[in-house]
Structures are given as structure tokens and as C-alpha cells.
């Protein structure tokens, strides 16, 4: 099995690259779409298989190569990235057909879209596999170029602004993180230049002997820099605009895959450096980002926002929850974190995919919250309902259980006031989202009914699959605390 995993590690990120190289072979827009969509479905298989194998062997020691690492927590993120990527590729043709780019002919714009999308996705697939902080930084930075072009893909002024803001803010943030990495390298290096100094296991092994002040400064610089890319407040300013303006399948990839993948790197760093910087530093830094993210997001969840912007602020809220889970450093919170990443990934991407038919049949949702979808179309209402119900944390969604686990971990291991404050903010966020859910499904309808079932068939299928997967996650979630997967992270049952 180990040999198979080593092969899959190479194939998983290269498969989307191969599809990107094949896209120009499509001589029509439809052919390019077909290559992109079906190629992506095939390209996701190695990553999904790799993730599944890594979870099966969660109780064993992680497998490592020169630059890669296959372990249970990474597998959870890898599965999320690969599934969301394949689903986004499946939805993309429907969006591309209705929104031709204004900047090129249909075929040209399709090629640009697919190549940028597939390269973005390929890089994201590699992030959870990175064994080394330096390699992880290069991969995260490499996602910026392709994803910035995708955010501005529509060519609208607002999209250009969002793409530009995303490019500048995240690049500057990552530069600060890089400075922190250099400081950490200098602090941890023992002689000859060696990439291995920045390996997660090497950092963890040497952490106890590292000089405290310099390591703490490096830690703060790296986490603060990564926070800009992970969308943690108060350095999240690019997030609402980029999520609102990007094509919906790209918004899904940004929210459900990119943000958690960056958070994974910050998490791995905190696990490695805890002995050097101390538990309190991790708790205060991540807890600060988590609470501020929740506090910034919640008031927006109460406002009547356009659909995609609401989902963007929901991303801010859920990234805050993930930051809190990292801060608490308790096995219960770790179990909650892993469940949260998967559940949020499925629910949030479904919400963004629902945008494609939603804006077709209720165009006002681009400016106002959706209303009365149940009487407009049941399939669309089902998708919006599953997405919002899950994101609000309504039981029996896996996010209800994950938030409960994270808060319980916080009360058990972290400062109680932090968990109590988080609980209040999450309850307020729930109320805001629940209001949108009720209005969205049962309010006074606007827009037009779909003329045939064909227009919403795809979202119906996705909503059904997502609902089943989310319920399955809830069931699995009950067995996560104390499991091999959580033990692999925390070392305790």
C-alpha cells in the first residue's frame, strides 16, 4: 500500500495539470467544457483514493517522502479539496454558458478559465501533502496568480477591483509570512543550507531547543501573514469582494478548499512549534483571530445581503470557528475541526453552486437576499435549504456537532471565557442565518419559475448527494473523538 501511496502523491496534483494541458485541444467552447468537466472528474480520483487510503491507515505513522507527507489530518483536507474541485468543474459549464466573458471569444475565454481553474486546483491539491513549511508557502503563493485571474474573470469593474484587492492583500500578507519563515529558518538552522530544517517533523523535534523570542516573532509573522490568505479578520478585507465577484464554482473552491488549506498550514505550524512558543501564545493568537472573525461576520449575517455576499461572510464565520479549534488544542476541538472542514466544504460549495440557477430564475438575488424559493422551484429551494441549514449549524447537520465539539474542547482545555464568547457569537450567527433560511424558502417569491425541470436538475442532484453526505458525516462525527485520526494529531485519545 505504501508504494501505491507514493505513486498517488505524484499523480494527484499532476492529474489536473494534465487536464489543463489537454484543454487547448478542444476546438469549440463545448469541447473545451467537456474536456474540463470530465477530465476533472477523472483527475480527482487519485486524490480521493489517496485521501481514503490515508484515512484507512490513520493509526499508523505518517508516510513521508522528500517533500511530501501523507497523514490523517492532511487526508481530510485533501478529500475536501479534491471533491470540491471536481464538483466545481462539473458546475462550471452551466455558468460559462450563461456568462461568456466580455474579454475574449467564447473558446478563448473557456480556455483561459479552464487552464487557470485547473492549475489553481492542482496547486491546492498539493498543499495538504506538503511536508515542509517552505514548500507549503511556495504552493500557497502559487495559488494566488491563477485564482486572482479567475476572480476577475467576468471583466466587470467590480470583479477587477475584487481581483486586484485579492492579489495585493494576499501577496503582501504572504510576504510577511515569508519573512517569518526566513526568521524561523535562521533560528532553527544548524549548519549547511537544508530544506529539511523546515520539515514539520524536524521543526517539532527541535522546537524545545529553539530560542523563544525569535521563534515567537517568526510564529506571529507567519500566522499573521497566512491569516490574510485564510480570510481571518481583521486581515480578511479581500474575502467578501472576491467571493462575491468570482464565478460561483471558483467561489466554492476559494471558500471550501483554499481557506481551509491555508488554515491547515497554520495549524501544522502551531502543532510543530507549541513547545517553543508555548500553549498560551497559540491560544491567544488563533483565539484572537477566531473571535474577531466571528465578531466581524455575525453582524453581516443579520443584514439583508445578496446571496453570494452572505455566503462570503459565512465563510468568515466558519474560518473563525476553525481558528478557535486550532486555538483550543484539545482532542475534542481537533475532532470538531476535521468534521467542520468537511461539512463546511460540502455545504458552502453547494450554496455557491446554487447561485447558477438562482441568478437565472431570481436575478434580484444578485442584489438582495433570495426569497420564496419553495414556491419558485423545489429543487433550488432544496439546495439553498440544505446549504443554509447546514451552515447555520442546524441539527442534525455535521456543523452543529462540530461546533459543539469545538466549544466542548474549549471549555475542557482552553480559557472558558473564550469558549463562552464564541458560543454567544455562534448563537447570534445562527439566528441571522436561520432568518435568511426562513425568508429564502418561505418568503414572498419573486423572479420566474423554471420553464422545465432541466434548468435545475443538476443542482437537485448535487443537493441530494450533499444532503446524504452531510448526514453520513454527522453519523461519522460521533465516532471521531478518540479515533485514530484525532490521535494522529494530538497523541491522546
Amino acid at each position: 500500500m505504501d508504494d501505491l501511496i507514493a505513486v498517488l502523491v505524484l499523480i494527484a496534483p499532476l492529474a489536473p495539470v494534465a487536464v489543463a494541458l489537454a484543454v487547448p485541444a478542444g476546438t469549440t467552447a463545448t469541447a473545451a467544457d467537456r474536456i474540463g468537466r470530465w477530465g476533472s472528474a477523472v483527475a480527482a480520483l487519485p486524490a480521493v483514493l489517496l485521501g481514503a487510503l490515508a484515512l484507512i491507515r490513520a493509526g499508523d505513522a505518517p508516510l513521508t517522502g522528500s517533500w511530501w507527507l501523507v497523514d490523517a489530518p492532511g487526508a481530510v483536507f485533501l478529500l475536501t479539496v479534491s471533491v470540491v474541485g471536481a464538483a466545481s468543474a462539473a458546475v462550471s459549464p452551466a455558468w460559462l454558458r450563461t456568462n461568456p466573458s466580455s474579454r475574449a471569444g467564447a473558446l478563448g475565454s473557456r480556455r483561459v478559465y479552464w487552464i487557470a481553474f485547473l492549475l489553481f486546483w492542482a496547486t491546492l491539491v498539493a498543499v495538504p501533502l506538503a511536508r515542509n513549511l517552505g514548500v507549503a508557502w511556495i504552493l500557497i503563493e502559487a495559488t494566488t496568480a491563477a485564482s486572482a485571474l479567475l476572480v476577475a474573470f467576468s471583466g466587470k469593474r467590480s470583479a477587477l477591483e475584487a481581483g486586484w484587492k485579492y492579489l495585493v492583500l494576499t501577496s503582501l500578507g504572504l510576504t510577511v509570512a515569508l519573512f517569518g519563515i526566513v526568521v524561523l529558518y535562521v533560528t532553527a538552522a544548524t549548519g549547511e543550507a537544508s530544506l529539511a530544517v523546515l520539515d514539520w517533523d524536524a521543526l517539532a523535534a527541535r522546537a524545545g531547543a529553539l530560542e523563544h523570542d525569535a521563534t515567537l516573532a517568526a510564529f506571529v509573522l507567519i500566522v499573521a501573514g497566512l491569516a490574510t490568505k485564510a480570510g481571518w479578520a481583521p486581515v480578511h478585507n479581500w474575502l467578501p469582494d472576491a467571493h462575491s465577484e468570482a464565478p460561483p464554482p471558483v467561489s466554492a473552491l476559494l471558500s471550501a478548499a483554499l481557506l481551509p488549506a491555508v488554515a491547515l498550514i497554520a495549524w501544522r505550524l502551531s502543532l510543530a512549534l507549541v513547545p517553543a512558543v508555548g500553549e498560551d501564545a497559540v491560544r491567544m493568537l488563533f483565539g484572537g483571530f477566531g473571535l474577531v472573525s466571528l465578531a466581524v461576520a455575525v453582524p453581516f449575517l443579520w443584514r439583508p445581503l445578496p446571496w453570494k455576499r452572505l455566503l462570503a461572510y459565512s465563510s468568515l464565520e466558519h474560518m473563525g470557528v476553525i481558528a478557535l479549534a486550532i486555538a483550543f488544542q484539545h482532542p475534542l476541538a481537533t475532532a470538531g475541526l476535521l468534521l467542520h472542514v468537511l461539512g463546511h466544504g460540502l455545504a458552502k460549495s453547494l450554496g455557491f453552486y446554487a447561485t447558477v440557477p438562482l441568478l437565472r430564475y431570481q436575478p434580484s438575488a444578485a442584489r438582495r437576499p433570495p426569497r420564496g424559493l419553495a414556491s419558485l422551484d423545489r429543487g433550488l429551494a432544496g439546495a439553498v435549504g440544505v446549504s443554509l441549514g447546514t451552515l447555520s449549524g442546524l441539527p442534525p447537520s455535521p456543523l452543529f456537532l462540530s461546533e459543539l465539539l469545538i466549544l466542548a474542547g474549549g471549555f475542557a482545555g482552553g480559557p472558558a471565557w473564550m469558549s463562552a464568547l464564541a458560543a454567544v457569537l455562534l448563537a447570534l450567527g445562527f439566528l441571522g442565518m436561520a432568518h435568511v433560511l426562513v425568508e429564502g424558502l418561505a418568503g414572498r417569491p419573486s423572479g420566474r419559475r423554471p420553464s422545465s425541470r432541466r434548468g435545475t436538475r443538476q443542482i437537485q442532484v448535487l443537493a441530494t448527494v450533499a444532503a446524504v453526505a452531510l448526514l453520513a458525516l454527522t453519523v461519522v462525527g460521533y465516532s471521531l473523538p478518540g479515533s485514530d485520526i484525532v490521535r494522529a494529531v494530538t497523541g491522546v485519545a
Binding site: V135, I138, A142, V168, S171, G191, A214
Partner: protein, 206 residues
């Protein structure tokens, strides 16, 4: 890296903050990048082969970035300069304060010299100041370059140098990002009729 060269690098960063015209700031920052590449090459004799390759890479990166910035400026020339958003003294004052605060906050971390540590930190702080106080979007690109130069100062002052793979990855990412930023600059000019970032404030409302 000599203290004189470090002062020159920091001074060119302040020059970019002070410059009224984006083109002047671009000349200062690309000169800073080239100077840094030349400085790294001058340090190569007597060091490891890996350092020499990394220094060569830094120079190559400087040449590529200079070319991209030159093309970007030529293709997005505007009829008149933007209205000055803040006075020279305010801009420079903000940069000096930010530099002093950051230099005071970052502890010594073991580079070959304390001057290199302070120089690297000062360049990164100057970059942050540039983003905060200047409106034309080219300044954001230049800020990114100055910050990367600050990282490069630290990287070449590490005993034994940073691993080559990291240097190569950073150089590749930087060139790619500057290229994408140049594309954005042109498209923004076409869409908004100006590269003054103040026209974009709050434009994106989904």
C-alpha cells in the same frame, strides 16, 4: 552585505515613498532590485556553490521584474499624474514611524549582521507604508517588490544561505505575480480610465 549597500537599499525604499510620479518610484525600486542582485553576486566568491546559484537567480529575477515593470509602465501611461493623496512629509513620516516600530518589535534572530536584520525589517516596513500611503495601483506592485527585496536581504545574509529550492520557488512566484499584476494594471486602466486606486474604493458590492 555591506552596511553602505544596506543604507542605499533602505534609502531607495524611502525614495519610492517620497516620489510623486509612479515611474520615478518604479525606477528607484527596480534599481534597488538590481542593486541587491549585484550585491548578492559580489558576495558569492568564497561561499558555497548553492549560494552562487541563488545569487544568480536573484539577479535573473531582478532583470525579469525590471522588464515586466517597464512594459507595464509603458502600456499604462496616463495623461496626467494623480492628485496627490497626502503630503510628502506625511508620507515619509508614516514610513519612518512604521520602520522604527517594526525594527523595535522584531528581535535579533541570528543573521550574519544586526545591520542586515534591521535592513530587511526596514524594507518590509517601508513596503507596508507604501501600500498605506500611495494610491496609484503601481505602488502596490512596487511595495510587493520592496518587501521581497527585504526578504532577499535576509536570505543572502543567512549563514550558509537559504535552500536553493526555496529561493527558486520564491523567484518563480514573484515573477508570476508581477506579471499578473501587470495584466491587472492594464485591465484596470481600460475599465476605469485611471490607475488611481481611490476610484475603486467600495466598487465591488456583489
Amino acid at each position: 552585505m555591506s552596511t553602505g549597500l544596506l543604507w542605499l537599499l533602505v534609502a531607495s525604499g524611502f525614495g519610492a515613498v517620497a516620489a510623486r510620479r509612479p515611474a520615478v518610484a518604479a525606477v528607484l525600486v527596480t534599481s534597488q532590485t538590481l542593486l541587491l542582485g549585484a550585491g548578492a553576486l559580489a558576495m558569492a566568491p568564497g561561499r558555497s556553490g548553492e549560494f552562487a546559484v541563488a545569487a544568480g537567480l536573484l539577479m535573473l529575477k531582478a532583470v525579469l521584474v525590471t522588464a515586466i515593470v517597464a512594459v507595464a509602465i509603458r502600456r499604462s501611461r496616463e495623461a496626467r499624474p494623480h492628485a496627490d493623496e497626502s503630503g510628502l512629509l506625511v508620507r515619509l513620516g508614516a514610513a519612518v514611524v512604521l520602520v522604527l516600530v517594526m525594527v523595535a518589535l522584531v528581535p535579533e534572530y541570528g543573521l550574519e549582521s544586526v545591520a542586515a536584520e534591521r535592513g530587511a525589517t526596514a524594507l518590509i516596513a517601508t513596503a507596508l507604508a507604501l501600500v498605506l500611503v500611495r494610491r496609484p495601483i503601481l505602488f502596490a506592485v512596487l511595495a510587493f517588490l520592496i518587501a521581497e527585496n527585504g526578504i532577499a536581504v535576509a536570505a543572502v545574509s543567512v549563514s550558509g544561505a537559504l535552500p536553493l529550492i526555496v529561493e527558486a520557488g520564491i523567484a518563480f512566484d514573484l515573477v508570476l505575480l508581477i506579471g499578473v499584476a501587470a495584466i491587472f494594471q492594464r485591465r484596470i486602466l481600460a475599465a476605469f480610465g485611471t490607475t488611481d486606486s481611490s476610484v475603486m474604493q467600495g466598487g465591488a458590492r456583489g
